[in-house]
């Protein structure tokens, strides 16, 4: 059996398959949950950080990382969860924000949280229904033009 030499990019590419179970279009790299991949003598350490401290998706995400690596014959690895620095939506990639919008979730808007754009019709004539949405990371809005309710991924 030949020795596989692992590199960071390769692992990163594999982990593109690991998505948020609540928002399957967005990978953990897009979300900013994947903080680092450290490789030392073919031992892989995947470093992740939770979005919210009580986020029930984290367990599922760990399981999914675990399965993805094993499926690709990588057995010698460890998943480390770090709390600091605390996760922020600033770490979300531009690509990730675009995917969120296409999926129907308004991406975080750090410049103006009072003026959220409707992901369906792009209107800015929207209003906040509830600070807390279907999950801890989202709040609930409605569009006053197309009348659709939508989730907004809040700045954190």
């Amino acid at each position: 059996m030949h020795e596989m030499v692992l590199n960071k990019n390769q692992i990163c590419q594999l982990l593109e398959d690991v998505t948020d179970p609540e928002i399957p279009v967005i990978s953990i790299r897009d979300l900013g949950i994947l903080r680092d991949i450290r490789i030392d003598h073919n031992h892989v350490e995947v470093v992740i950080t939770p979005t919210y401290s009580g986020c029930p998706a984290m367990l599922e995400i760990e399981r999914s990382i675990n399965n993805t690596l094993k499926k690709n014959n990588i057995e010698n690895f460890r998943i480390t969860t770090i709390l600091s620095p605390a996760w922020t939506t600033d770490w979300m990639t531009e690509e990730g924000k675009q995917k969120l919008k296409e999926y129907g979730i308004a991406p975080p808007s750090p410049t103006n949280e009072d003026d959220i754009q409707c992901p369906n019709c792009n209107s800015r004539n929207t209003s906040l229904v509830s600070q807390f949405g279907s999950t801890a990371c989202k709040s609930l809005f409605k569009c006053n033009d197309c009348l659709e309710p939508f989730d907004y991924f809040k700045c954190h």
């Binding site: 029930p56 709390l83 229904v129 509830s130 807390f132 801890a136």
Partner: protein, 250 residues
């Protein structure tokens, strides 16, 4: 093991777990769907915070016990939460008022704890502080809406305030662990938190046209394990599965 550090971490972990459990009782019973979701979201944040703190407390304890042992296998007299968080939900107004009294402490507490010289506590605080900003905004908004709302909503939240006021001060009365934490730089200065908290409460109550009782009597005992009868019932619910089927897992 550093007993004070252990107790200090447990005090906050227990506050978060018990209030999270209380809020969870609203699941499916909220007055409207959005607020049902808000309460369970906040419950989830609090339970998440308690997990990080229990994990750390278990590490400090260092005898191989885990977060689950601390949450599921201690008795009422081992719990160090303040009496406020174990008070029953009552009506929506009482739940809101209890939440506001807690959030107005919790938010400033974590903000100050970010400067802890204990790296782990500082990291947990930084993560949790962001969450509590939302909690405080939510509960303060509702105190305003109910206080300055209809005659009935005003009456209900004023009576919640009268009932819960004697439970509001305990959290800023320093325990031995609080003293040690402040002296050794891993915890906060409760006097500073108190002044920020008191002005926030005063500001919100005034805008909500509510009046805090003049009586300054304060219940206490929670931090040293003397609880109201309510805690036993909460634990009976919370711990049932692990007590009946030790070591059981999902």
């Amino acid at each position: 093991m550093n007993n004070h550090l252990f107790n200090y971490t447990l005090q906050q972990a227990d506050n978060c777990l018990i209030l999270g459990q209380r809020l969870g009782e609203w699941c499916g019973h909220g007055p409207i769907l959005e607020q049902d979701i808000a309460m369970t979201n906040i419950a989830l944040d609090l339970i998440g915070q308690s997990r990080m703190l229990y994990q750390y407390a278990a590490e400090v304890q260092g005898d191989g016990k885990t977060e689950d042992d601390l949450a599921y296998l201690r008795d009422a007299w081992d719990f160090k939460n303040v009496l406020l968080v174990e008070q029953p939900n009552g009506d929506f107004a009482k739940t809101i008022l209890r939440q506001f009294l807690f959030d107005s402490f919790n938010c400033y507490f974590y903000e100050a704890l970010k400067d802890s010289n204990d790296e782990k506590l500082a990291a947990i605080a930084a993560k949790s502080h962001k969450e509590t900003l939302y909690h405080l905004k939510w509960s303060a908004d509702w105190v305003l809406r109910l206080g300055d709302g209809t005659e009935e909503s005003h009456e209900r939240i004023q009576s919640a305030l009268n009932e819960l006021w004697p439970y509001s001060a305990e959290i800023i009365i320093a325990s031995d662990a609080d003293h040690d934490a402040k002296t050794n730089g891993y915890g906060v200065n409760l006097e500073e938190i108190q002044s920020r908290r008191d002005s926030k409460i005063e500001e919100v109550l005034e805008e909500a046209t509510l009046t805090a009782p003049e009586d300054t009597f304060s219940h206490s005992g929670g931090k040293s394990g003397t609880h109201t009868e309510h805690l036993g019932y909460i634990l009976a619910d919370l711990q049932f599965l692990q007590r009946a089927y030790p070591g059981n897992e999902w």
